[in-house]
Symmetry: C2
Subunit: 383 residues, 2 copies
Amino acid sequence: MHDFIFHNPTRIIFGRDKEREIGAELKAAGVRKVLFVYGLNSIVRSGLFGRIVASLRESGIEFVEFGGVVSNPLLSHARQGVALARAEQVDAILAVGGGSVLDEAKGIAVGALADEDLWAFYEGREVERALPLFTVLTIAATGSEMNGNSVITNEATKAKWNISSIHVYPKVSILNPALTCSVPPDYTAYSAVDAIAHVIEGYFTKQPGSRLQDRLVESVIRTVIETTDLIMEDPDNYAARAEFAWAATLALNGLTPAGIGPYGFPNHMIEHSLSALYDIAHGAGLAIVMPAWMRWYSGRTHTPSQFDRFSVEIFGVRGAAAGIDALEQWFRKIGAPVRLAEAAIPGEDIERIAENAARLAKRWRLGDAYPAAVIAEILQLAA
Amino acid sequence: MHDFIFHNPTRIIFGRDKEREIGAELKAAGVRKVLFVYGLNSIVRSGLFGRIVASLRESGIEFVEFGGVVSNPLLSHARQGVALARAEQVDAILAVGGGSVLDEAKGIAVGALADEDLWAFYEGREVERALPLFTVLTIAATGSEMNGNSVITNEATKAKWNISSIHVYPKVSILNPALTCSVPPDYTAYSAVDAIAHVIEGYFTKQPGSRLQDRLVESVIRTVIETTDLIMEDPDNYAARAEFAWAATLALNGLTPAGIGPYGFPNHMIEHSLSALYDIAHGAGLAIVMPAWMRWYSGRTHTPSQFDRFSVEIFGVRGAAAGIDALEQWFRKIGAPVRLAEAAIPGEDIERIAENAARLAKRWRLGDAYPAAVIAEILQLAA
C-alpha cells in the first residue's frame, strides 16, 4: 500500500425531496447571494427550478440566474459566469444539474476569485481559493458532486482539460435519486459507462496489491451493472436509481484509489479528445475507447492477472479477452456505442484525434507511454 | 436505499514516518498549544514520543503532557484532562495512541469547552462544540481516527457509554502502519474482531436491500481476515498492517452504513458491559459476544438470507450455522476468546452483566428488543 492523503469534506444530503433543503443549507453556511448555475430549461419544465427558488426565497437567499451550460461545458460560457459572479458580488455558487453544470460551476468558483483568466488553472496553475460551491445533482455519473475535479473545453484550441483541487469540493451536495428518474436510457447508459470508467482506470494501471481497493472497485462495478439493468427495465425504479447514484459518487470521490499509488487515466485522456472534437457525450466516448484500450493494454500490462481477475469477478468468465468481450457486449446491450462509426466519427479522423489526445497525454505526464502513434493504434481497435 | 447524510471531514495522512508531519499540520491549522494525550510509557520507549515532540518543537507548538489513558478509558481520568486543558488554555488536543486514547481525547475536547461536566454528553446531551482534535494512531481497530464516536466508562456507575458528534471528528489523523507493527498478537486479534464487529452490526440488523453496502462490508471483512492471517505469520508485514489499518478505518467511518436505514449495535451494547465490569479488551469481549448473538439472532431475523449470504461470501460455506461456526473457528485460530470462561468471566455473573447491558439498551433505544432476560439468553450461548 502506498502513502496517501484522503480528505473529502463534502457533506452529502441524500434522499427524496432533499433539494427543498438547499436554502436552509446556504443560510446555515452564512451565504447571502448565489450565482444559480444550470443547463437547460428542462429544470424549469420539470418544476425543479421552482422548488429551488422557493427554497432560496424561504431562507432569504438572493440569487442571480446563469443558465445555458451545455454538455462538455465551454470556456467561453464559464467566462461569462465569472463576469456575472463578479458583477453581482455573489458569495457562493449554486450548481443545479449534472456533471457538466457542476464542472463549469467549479470553474466559475475559481475564476471569480482569481486575478488571472480561469483557463490558466486548467493549464496547470495551482488553485488557491474559490467561492464556496453548493450543488443539487440531476444526473448521477461523474462524481463531480463529491470531488475537486472540473473539466472544461476551450473551444478555441479544442483542449478539454481539467483542474483538481481541494478548494472546489462542494461544501454541500444534495442527491435526490428521484431527480435522476427522468434521465433517458441513452444518457443512463453513458452515465453507467462513465462510473465504470472512473474505477477501471486505477484498477488496471496501478501497481499490484491493494486487495481492499480492488474489492471496492469490483463492488462499484457490479452495483453499476446490476442497477443499470434494473433501470433499463423500469426507469422509475427509485431503489435502483439511488444505488446507482451512490455507486457513481463513490466511483470518483477518492475512496477507490486511496493507497494504490501512481496510476493513470488513459481512457479519459483519449476520450476527452473525442468529446472535444465531436461534442459527443463523455460516456459514449468512453464506451468506444475502453474496450479498445483494454484490448491494447491487456497485452502490455505488467499485471496481466488483473485482467483475469476482472473477468472472473465481474463477469464470471476466464481470461482477459472474454472479460473485455463481456464488457463490450454489455455496453452494446445498454445502448452505448462501442465503435467510432457508431458515434458518427470517421475512421480517417483517427490521426487528428490522436494528435489532440497526445497534447493531453503530455499535460498529464503520460506523454512517453502515449505518443500520438500509440493513441492511433488504440483507436484503430475501435474502428 | 434510505435517506442519509454523509459528512466525514477528517483529513487522513497515511504512510511511513508521517507522524513527523504533525507539528506542521498543527501550525498550518493555526494551533498554538496542545494537550498531548497518550496512554502508556511504551510510546516513550519506542521513540514515538520523542519524534512527536521534535515535530512539535520544530513547528513552535507548545504542549502539555497528559499521559496515563488506560484501555477502556475512565471518566475520572478524562475529567483530569479537562481540568488540565482548561488550566493550560490549550487550543487543541493531540491524541497519540489507539482507540482508547482517541476516545478519551474526544471527551476532553468536549469537556474543555463545556459549562457542564462532560459525562452529561455521554448521558445524551447534544455536543455543540469541542476543541479541535488531531491524532496519531498506534493501534488500528476502532475507527476513532475517522469518526465522531467516543466511548468512556464511568467507573462509579459501571456505565460504558458513548457520544457521537460531528464536532469530535479529528481534523487530521496520521496513520503510519509501521507504528502498528509492535501491536502484539493478542491485541492484533482483538483489533481484527473489533473491525469485523463494526461492519457486521449494520449488515445483519438493517433492512434488506442495499447491495453496494453489503459488498463494501464483505470487502472489509475479507480484507481484515486475510491481512490478519498475514500479520500473525509476520508481525512486521508492512503491507498487511497497512491494508488492515485502512480496512479498520473504513469499517467505522460512515461509509458502510450510508443509506442502509435504521440499524443497531447489539453486539457492542452487550460487550460494553463485559469490558465495563471486567476490564477486558473490547475486541476480546466482542469475540465472545458475536458468535452467541449471531446464533441467537439468525433464528429470529426478518432477513435470514443475510446470514446465508455472509456464509457464502466470507467463508464459502452454506447456511447460517456453518458461517457462524467458521467465524468462531477463525476467532479461535487468531487467539481471541469465544466463551466467557476463556476471559475468566464466571457464568454465574450472566444476570448481572445482562442487567448492566439492559441499561445501555434503553439508552440506545433497543430496550424493547433487548430486555435483560434476552441479553442473558444470548450470553448463555457464550457460557
